[in-house]
Each structure stands twice: as structure tokens, then as C-alpha cells.
Symmetry: C2
Subunit: 331 residues, 2 copies
């Protein structure tokens, strides 16, 4: 997307402070831009925004395709907006080819949120690799928090690697499942279950009541089998219906209880600092890898060595050592 850089970083920062959603959008577009010319402006905006951190609740919402994430966010968002809370919704879909369609789909399923002046919906630009998407999303969260949203929802599809990334951006990880008894979990990786702070059995309508209860029991059971988390929180499993709007009072109560707990214990601040240091390490690796793999000579050499490895002619470790040595010797 073409971005006009006629304005200084002050313009964007003031706009964000004055809760101007159009300027927020422009600022996010600058952050997402891969153009060299936007980099300095992006850095200045971010730099200012991290000093303006408010007290947003950062919540990841994940689940298989079809679990009803968008309808759920619409219902939860609407209830929170009615309670005079402000809400930002960021959608991540690393599978770039699909995302345009699904984001359009999202917006039509978030009809109660679109156009509300206390709500902001933004898909993450997906013309990038997972590392790029993660970075954009994380920086967008920082901008939205500086803007002062009470809730920042990060919606992600629960099938890929994106969850580990998202887990390291949020305070609370919400997993949406369907009341298909055991079959439902077929598409969910075990590691994702482990990340959940709250599990919701969505589509627990009256007519699905029996299946929904069984699903909740099974999930509770599966969760119970595994190790407790360090923050002394037992993951609740709730039956909800986004369409019939049942179960949401209990959900909001659990979300409040969770934040009360992690804020009063100091865990939230500690978690965010841990996450920042995680991103430092992660980005150092990304940058090193990026510099390594964008080196044409090294890439050619690596291709040759990969073939030799597959033919059992050389050892992977020796090949790696040799490649890195060559890379660091380059002028």
C-alpha cells in the first residue's frame, strides 16, 4: 500500500493520543510498510507508543476454522461496548492467499462492531512470512494500547505455528472449541490446548446441550491430565452460545477474575517483560537468519551442501559450521 509520508511522527502520535482511528490506521500502515523510506518514521512512532502503554487487556482468541471465532468476537465485543468499554480486534491469518476472503467474511460476521466508534477492526497484512506477521501484529498491539483500548482481541486460526507467537503477545489465551465431543479436537494441536487460559465450548445451544456438556467434560478431563501452569490458575471450560448469547456473563466474570489475579500478583507485568525479552531474542535470531539467507553466495553454497547431505556425503553439522564461517568472513 502506498503511504504518503508528508507528516512527522508527532502528527501520528498526537492523533493516537487524541483517539483518532483514521490516524491510527495510517500509523499501522506505516509500521507494516516494508519500504525503506518508512522505517525511520515507523521507529519513531513505535518508540513514542511504547512509552504510552496503558492498561489494555490483550486477549488471544483462537480455534479451528468453523469454531465461530468471528461471531463470538461480535457477541463478546458488543456486550463490552454496551458496558462503555472500547475494543480493538486484530485478525491474523498467516495463510496469505486465504486471508482476503476470510477477513471479508469476518467483517460481515462482526456487524455489531463495524462502525461503532469505540471499536476498531484491523486485519494484519498477510503478504509476509510468519515472523513478519508476528512482528506487525505485536507492533499493532503496542499502537492500540497507546491509543487506550480497554480490550485488544487477537484472532488467529488454531491450526498453525502462529499460536506460539501469539501466546507471547497476550495476557490471556482463549480457545474456542465445538461441541462435537472428541471429534472436535482432531484439528487442534495438543500444544495449543496447553496454552489455553480459558476454553470455551462454543455453539452450546439448547439443542446441542447434551453434546456440549460431554465435550466440556472431556476437555476438562484432558486439561486435568496435564501439568499445572506457573501462574496458579485452573483453566476453566465454559459452555457458551455466541448466537443465543448465553454463558457470556460467566465468561466476562472469568476474564475479570483472571486479570484481577495476574494484575494483583504482579504476574502480568512480569509476563510482559518476559515477552519483551522473548521478542528481543526472537528478533535477533530472525535478523541473523535474514542476513544469512539473503546472502546470494551463501544460498548457492547451501543448496549444494543440502544435496550432499541428502546423498550422505557430508554431515549436517559440518556443513552448517562451514556455511556460517563463510558467511561471517564475507566483507
Amino acid at each position: 500500500m502506498q503511504v504518503k509520508n508528508n507528516y512527522s511522527s508527532d502528527y501520528y502520535i498526537q492523533g493516537i493520543l487524541q483517539k483518532d482511528r483514521i490516524i491510527l490506521s495510517k500509523a499501522i500502515t506505516i509500521i507494516e510498510s516494508t519500504k525503506q523510506a518508512d522505517e525511520r518514521l515507523a521507529d519513531e512512532i513505535l518508540q513514542a507508543c511504547i512509552r504510552l502503554q496503558k492498561n489494555s487487556k490483550r486477549i488471544a482468541i483462537t480455534g479451528s476454522p468453523g469454531a465461530g471465532k468471528s461471531t463470538f468476537i461480535n457477541t463478546l465485543g458488543k456486550i463490552l461496548l454496551d458496558q462503555q468499554q472500547s475494543v480493538a480486534v486484530l485478525a491474523i491469518d498467516p495463510s496469505s492467499s486465504k486471508s482476503k476472503g476470510s477477513i471479508l467474511g469476518d467483517k460481515t460476521r462482526m456487524e455489531d462492531l463495524v462502525g461503532n466508534s469505540n471499536c476498531y477492526i484491523r486485519p494484519t497484512a498477510s503478504n509476509s512470512n510468519l515472523g513478519g506477521v508476528a512482528r506487525n501484529t505485536r507492533e499493532t498491539i503496542l499502537l492500540c494500547e497507546a491509543f487506550g483500548f480497554d480490550y485488544i482481541f487477537i484472532e488467529t486460526v488454531g491450526v498453525g505455528q502462529s499460536e506460539t507467537m501469539v501466546k507471547n503477545m497476550v495476557d490471556l489465551f482463549l480457545l474456542l472449541l465445538l461441541p462435537n465431543s472428541g471429534d472436535e479436537l482432531q484439528g487442534i494441536k495438543r500444544g495449543i490446548m496447553e496454552m489455553a487460559d480459558i476454553v470455551l465450548i462454543n455453539k452450546s445451544e439448547e439443542e446441542n446441550k447434551a453434546a456440549a456438556k460431554i465435550a466440556a467434560t472431556q476437555v476438562k478431563h484432558a486439561l486435568h491430565l496435564f501439568a499445572a501452569s506457573e501462574k496458579d490458575w485452573t483453566t476453566p471450560v465454559l459452555n457458551i452460545s455466541s448466537i443465543q448469547q448465553t454463558g457470556f456473563q460467566e465468561l466476562i466474570h472469568k476474564i475479570d477474575a483472571y486479570f484481577l489475579k495476574i494484575e494483583s500478583s504482579g504476574y502480568k507485568q512480569q509476563l510482559r517483560k518476559q515477552q519483551d525479552l522473548f521478542w528481543l531474542e526472537e528478533t535477533i535470531l530472525q535478523e541473523l537468519q535474514q542476513a544469512f539467507s539473503s546472502n546470494k553466495n551463501i544460498a548457492d553454497l547451501k543448496n549444494k551442501l543440502q544435496k550432499k547431505i541428502i546423498e550422505n556425503e557430508i554431515n549436517a553439522v559440518q556443513a552448517a559450521k562451514f556455511l556460517v564461517q563463510k558467511f561471517l568472513e564475507q566483507p
Copy 2:
């Protein structure tokens, strides 16, 4: 450990080919050595050994402390030795301070294996980080396979990150649990359950029969909840007793069936090539990281920037970019 390098790589390679376990041990010590002087010799030995790959069955054996891994390996190893099979046992314990004790403990619990001329037991040197332990173990596997062991067992404690590493070294991943019903899994991370190709409920003695059956059912249930693996294999859950030696015929039958399946489908060869390329990428990252973090100036700068990140003065991404740029500019 002091290693005398009076011999050429040919000496070690010939010794390995002639199934001399003392020379194998010396060769592994050279591989594990961190002395610059041993590096070239180690490279030559490895280089020769990867061309000598035989058809070993590489099997990871993991489980919580107390699950009875050593006694299990003793019983399974003994049965295989009685069937004229040769067995290597490599023990990994990344928690270096504990490992000396536990390895001594292991050896006394493997009394039927110690001293058998078709068996070789080797703890992985643990005075190193996880990356170093992984590399040593992987290279030791290569040497043991060149030596021609029918089975190579890699024993690891099922509580850390070491399992992901080990998963990428083996053909078959075996998880040992105890018949404590749900409580048993408390110490096992969910991700480890997901890796298992065979789950064993150990200590399923007659007097524990009821609890052991319940545990097996629960584990089957938990496994069933999740996504199927790409190799078209349903993870069996077996009740065994290492002390009473029950359930081992069925286990050996399952192991054989597994290898028959992955060998006839070509999956095993494909898996090993994938693993080699995984280790290439992994080692490139390790080497880049190593070069980065052993740079004193960069380390000092990073310390300063970490403090600024924690104080919300700068953004982690900017700090990372800056550090990598400084690092690559260095002469």
C-alpha cells in the same frame, strides 16, 4: 577428559568397523571433545561414519523421573540380546549437576546389560548446553549406527526441552508412564504426549492391574482427542511390567510392525533426510547465535539494551535490529 590423539582417523574408523567397543568409546570422546585440536579428527571420523550407515532402529525412551526407564531398558535390552540382537544405550540428562548420580543409578539398574559383549552403554557428556548435548548425542548415534548396532536406545528425562531434539534424532519415540491414573501425567508436558509413537504404562503389575487399565484407557482417550500423525500410525498404549517382564512380546511385536510400516512405505528414509535438513538449519542458527553471543562488545551492548527494554525506553525489535547490524559490521 584428556584424549590422546596419537592415532589417525583410520585407526578409529577401522576399530568401529571391527566392532571394537573400546575404540568406539574413544571415538565418541573425541567427538564430544571441545578442544580445538580434536576438531579435525572428529570431523574425519564423522565424515567416514555417515557413509557407513547401517540399518539401526533408533528409539527414544522417555518418561518422568521414576517412570522406570532404566529398569525398562534393562528388561527390553535383555530380551533383544537373548534374540542375538545388539543394543546401544545412550543416556541424555541435560541437567548436568544431577546427571552423574542418575547415570550411576542407571548402570546399576541395567545389570543384565552391563558387560554383555553385544551391548554398549554410554551417557552423553552433560557439561554442555542443550544444543551441545543434542549435537553430541546425534553424532554418537551416527557412530553407533556405523558400528552396526541393531537397536540404539536414547534415554531422556521427559520433563524438559530435550524431547523435541531427541524426536528429531530417532525413528520411534517411546513414552513410559506410570499407572497412577490421571495424576501420572501431571509431570508430562502435552507436547511430549503428541510425539509418542508407542505409550507404555509401566509397572502394570498384577497388584496394580485395575489402576493400570484405567491409566491405559485414559491415555488412549487423551491420544484419541488429538490430530492423527502424517505416517498413518495409531499410537498404541500397552500395559507392561518391567520387573515381571510382562507385555514385552506385544511391545516387540508393535516395534517390529512400526518399523516394517515405516521402512516399506519409504517413510523412514524420508524422515531421516528431513531430520538431517532439520539439523542443518538448527546448527546454522546455533552457530550464528554462538558467534553473536560470544562477541564481548555485542554482549555488553545487549545488556544495556535489555535494561532499556524493561524500562519501556526502547522497543525489542529496534534493539534487535541495532544489535545484529552492529554485529555484522564488526571486522
